[in-house]
Symmetry: C2
Subunit: 633 residues, 2 copies
């Protein structure tokens, strides 16, 4: 099949309208089923429901006590207690019926028991402490309107009101068809060139959240007729079908051809980024959606089109999404031709929200996982300036963002340890770290984009994190919180086959570097300078990675022979480690923030034995000063 | 067993502390299980998870295009396109591996196809459009910290990173033991004196929401040894046990004795209302909670003690609950000895929240169902004044409250019809009505406690809803929105066995009346006055019910022979109806509120054919003026 590289580019709002209009007859159909009420938690009722029995359905005692004819109590008073004739009353418990000749209940607390019997000291009135028929629920009363989502309390009321089975909307079924000759199930052996089929698990989970019933088909090869037969089968058995991927316009992208042969393509190509190569179609009465293959594109297209469709067909209310306005911590360039969805990390710093953009590639799913939501940059906008306000659609409750300590700066594995210890604490607080290097982290702190900076900057006098901080925060009160001393060294392949031991050895091997501004790189440059080595003479000096682990992984995978980093990263990736020297990995924050509850928990954690023991087991750390606060003067 | 009527009264915060301290060793135990990742949606991970494979795990193409050695492109430029040697490149699709000798991908859009082959017009650089190994996920990278609740996107990342099974916390199991000799399953035949077991369905649903696994035992009679054996069995098989009810101190209340014989009673009796007769206990390592029998008490005790316990044992985060401060529309008297949970209906009227208290009985579950949350009145507080601020814990998102049109006033079934039509609309708006009678509804509107009043007040000149409105809103701009004309008449038993036809007939039968201020009662008084009948000579004139349906239900159940009401209520309850006259059931609101989106939807609905057709099918309504707006001048 010839490559046809042209996709249209329909505005997302137009696409939604076109799709919605085309589905009008689908929306009109009412698919319901009768279910036993006791299993109907979370279901949506399809008919108004009326009570079939009153609660209570007989006059009943509201108290433990005695039932009596109130007329027989009228002569009682405090000065002359009335001894009751035992044949005039019966003992009753809460809920017991109060029938002729009784018309009231005297609470146990108001009955005086003695050897001669029960006395009372005041008259009682008819229906005192008696629940009339239908006090709670009246037979015939409307209990719930249509479209109501049944909560636990509703189910118990329905059972009490003798509505034991009810008509609810059927859950919509959705077929998920993974396609692609190179796609393999996660349970098959995988080799170079294979791509693991993981998107269906994203779709399945999102469909379940939208109260739908998902079914994933076996992976279909890039073959027009195989895809066509699978789609035919799926539309005959399901309410909604999605095809992933082949929705673009490449050599093997058959989705659009299959849909147009079986039904109608409504939209092919959206002016959004990521997510452009999407298809909205209809086969008979079944919406068929072609979803792009890159996971971030897939996520956006599913959430924008499939989730709302499933909720609507399920008559389920659209869940509320928190939206905020946040200041961008970066200049972001955006395409004029597309609405852009920028993954962002949100900080709530000094009473304002700041948004730091994360990786933008359509294949970078971890940046979605790590994000707090999408900043939306409308089409026809060139981008967003530093410190300009952006609309952000959060993927978690706003409360959680406010309860998160945002730390930005240099990477170390102890940040993961600290984050885990936050989660294990009894407080609803979280710690989230973003890794952009020491100097950039301090800059972020100075711009109030973070609550805490992690830094290991070697100063010209051999001290750590001193002069730079004073220069960046000349008139402001900041403090240093001692973190850990850690061993930096050379990460080399297991067994050290290239026999690397010193900085000089870097001249004869393939090196992998850290990004500019990273403390580890500053340390390397310091050592290179001491030895008068020209950085440019090292192969790979300009190849940059942003974390210790990424460097260790590159060495483990033989992409490079050696990198500079910390011992724990080498250990985790199964590499050998040549120690070269100790350095200080510290924290910096504004002094007035030390009293914030989030910060107090942070200090408690890094001073704890638990933290120190975990560092010890990771190896390469000295925690003797962890948590000490130093004032800059 | 002797009745021992004394319960202690422990402050709820003290009770929580005592319970929490006693459970310390229970919390320390870590119960985990290994599950297949693909089924782990919503589970909480019990160990940090690291990637077991990079994504991508080979350098791969980020685009559809051609793979080439970038060195072979350096001579291309716009003026002199470079025709590529077909042996120098291969066609690649997105995701294909880019291996030696290729090091870059030229996008399909940058390739010029002609009969002689593929040409390019600019040089390309190494790794252009190539995703490096680990671009998304690096092998060994920490993917998720402990205590993370797995979302759909997390599952897909775990699958891609080759983590196919993971260690998660076990879901906690909870045994629900319903007790009571008078308690019957909803599926058994029910007669007077029986109480339908419905609380277990409330507990089951709440336990499921707290991610627990509930099991309900068969109903146990009020028998010490039967209850004891059942509890022994339950604690041997479950993590948490609740016993409902028998938690008070009455004749047949064995729960406290059973718990103290098998284990330890920590707290018996709470200073909360409703919910006082609760028991917190521990049998071995299993928390055992005695829950009161009245459904509202049961709901409060479960939510205050059991839900947080289940969430904590499940390592599940406490869901955020919206809390607001709202002005009370009533004076509320509260017990000095107890913290009170007052069910309230919330209105968001003219930018402030107002809270109207609902029925307070511990047996009134429908008032929980209809409520928007609990207003909390602390112990030692005498109550809350009219217009005083209260703390309210909402049971729904605050957004939903803001999107709800709150209508207060006279009852008519068309309010249910309107509410249904709101739900069926494409807008996320709701209509909620509270029924307190016409005059009280107008008063509520005048105090800005509602957005809309429903009224059918007969004026002295025979008109409806005119002079009273002018008197209550002398200087304010309000408008009348015509509702329906409806037939009021006598609701009598099927077949009219008492042969009732006129107002005079009421003198010889058992009547059931509506509450003071209800328009229907005003109409009755008007007719009685016309005929010179003394109301007090009618048996049942002082017996009051608050809705048309309740009146019809009373007649249908032979509690009374006749009541005044509307035809639709008679029809629904299977009663006969003797029409007496037409009346106007109208709406009143502030003029400036007509432009509110909620109000615009309301007008759209009551002017629609759909609304009018439903009224027609109910019978007894004239909708010819529905939705007309009349200005008071």
């Amino acid at each position: 099949m010839k490559r046809s590289i042209y996709l249209k580019s329909t505005d997302i709002e137009d696409a939604k309208r076109i799709f919605h209009d085309a589905l009008n007859s689908v929306y009109q159909k009412k698919h319901t089923e009768t279910v036993q009420t006791e299993y109907a938690y979370g279901r949506v009722i399809a008919q108004p429901i009326y009570a079939r029995r009153s609660v209570p359905f007989y006059p009943s005692s509201a108290m433990d006590g005695i039932a009596i004819d109130s007329a027989k109590t009228k002569n009682a008073n405090e000065h002359k207690p009335l001894l009751l004739d035992p044949s005039d009353y019966i003992e009753v418990d809460t809920g017991d019926p109060i029938l002729d000749p009784y018309d009231c209940v005297i609470m146990a607390e108001d009955c005086i028991h003695s050897d001669s019997g029960v006395s009372i000291i005041k008259p009682h009135v008819p229906w005192e402490n008696v629940r009339p028929i239908g006090e709670d629920v009246t037979e015939g009363e409307l209990l719930f309107s249509m479209e109501h989502v049944l909560r636990p309390m509703d189910i118990s009321v329905l059972i009490a009101a003798n509505q034991l089975s009810i008509e609810v909307y059927k859950k919509v079924s959705i077929a998920i068809i993974p396609t692609g000759t190179e796609i393999r199930s996660a349970y098959e052996p995988i080799s170079v060139g294979d791509i693991v089929e993981s998107n269906s698990y994203l779709f399945t989970g999102l469909a379940l959240l939208a109260q739908a019933l998902p079914t994933t088909y076996p992976i279909v090869k890039d073959d027009f007729s195989e895809i066509k037969h699978t789609v035919e089968d799926a539309v005959s058995k399901h309410d909604v079908v999605i095809i992933n991927a082949g929705s673009s316009a490449g050599r093997d992208d058959y989705t659009v051809h299959v849909i147009s042969e079986l039904g109608k393509v409504l939209v092919h190509g959206l002016s959004i980024k990521p997510g452009k190569p999407a298809i909205l179609g209809l086969v008979g009465d079944v919406p068929v959606i072609g979803i792009p293959g890159f996971p971030v594109s897939a996520h956006i297209v599913f959430e924008e089109f499939v989730t709302p469709l499933l909720l609507k067909l399920n008559h389920y209310p659209i869940p509320h999404v928190d939206r905020i306005e946040a200041y961008s911590t970066r200049r972001i360039v955006s395409s004029l031709k597309s609405k852009e969805y920028i993954r962002v990390k949100i900080g709530y710093i000094h009473d304002r929200y700041v948004a730091t953009p994360l990786a933008r590639g359509a294949g970078m799913m971890m940046s979605v996982v790590k994000s707090d939501g999408y900043a939306l940059i409308e089409k026809n906008r060139e981008g967003v300036d530093f410190n300009e306000m952006m609309d952000v659609q959060l993927n978690k409750p706003i409360q959680q963002i406010k309860h998160t300590l945002l730390a930005i700066g240099s990477h170390d594995l102890i940040m993961d340890v600290i984050s885990n210890l936050f989660e294990q604490s009894t407080f609803p607080y979280h710690c989230s770290s973003v890794h952009i290097g020491s100097y950039a982290g301090l800059l972020a702190l100075s711009r109030k984009e973070s609550a805490l900076a992690m830094t290991h900057l070697l100063e010209s006098d051999g001290s750590y994190n001193t002069h730079t901080v004073k220069k960046l925060f000349p008139s402001e009160k900041v403090v240093m919180i001692k973190g850990v001393k850690r061993i930096q060294g050379l990460i080399v392949e297991k067994g050290n086959p290239k026999n690397i031991h010193t900085i000089e050895d870097l001249l004869r091997i393939r090196f992998i570097n850290r990004q500019r501004g990273a403390g580890t790189r500053v340390l390397l440059d310091h050592w290179l300078n001491q030895k008068n080595i020209n950085p440019e003479s090292i192969v790979g000096y300009n190849k940059e990675l942003t974390t210790h682990l990424a460097v260790a992984a590159a060495v483990a995978n033989n992409v490079a022979d050696c990198g500079l980093g910390i011992q724990s990263a080498a250990t985790i990736m199964g590499c050998d480690f040549i120690p070269l020297g100790l350095e200080d990995y510290d924290f910096v924050c504004y002094a007035d923030f030390l009293n914030d509850p989030l910060m107090m928990l942070f200090l408690t954690i890094i001073r704890s034995d638990e933290f120190k023991n975990i560092c010890k087991s990771l190896g390469g750390y000295d925690t003797s000063e962890s948590g000490e606060v130093r004032i800059y003067d």
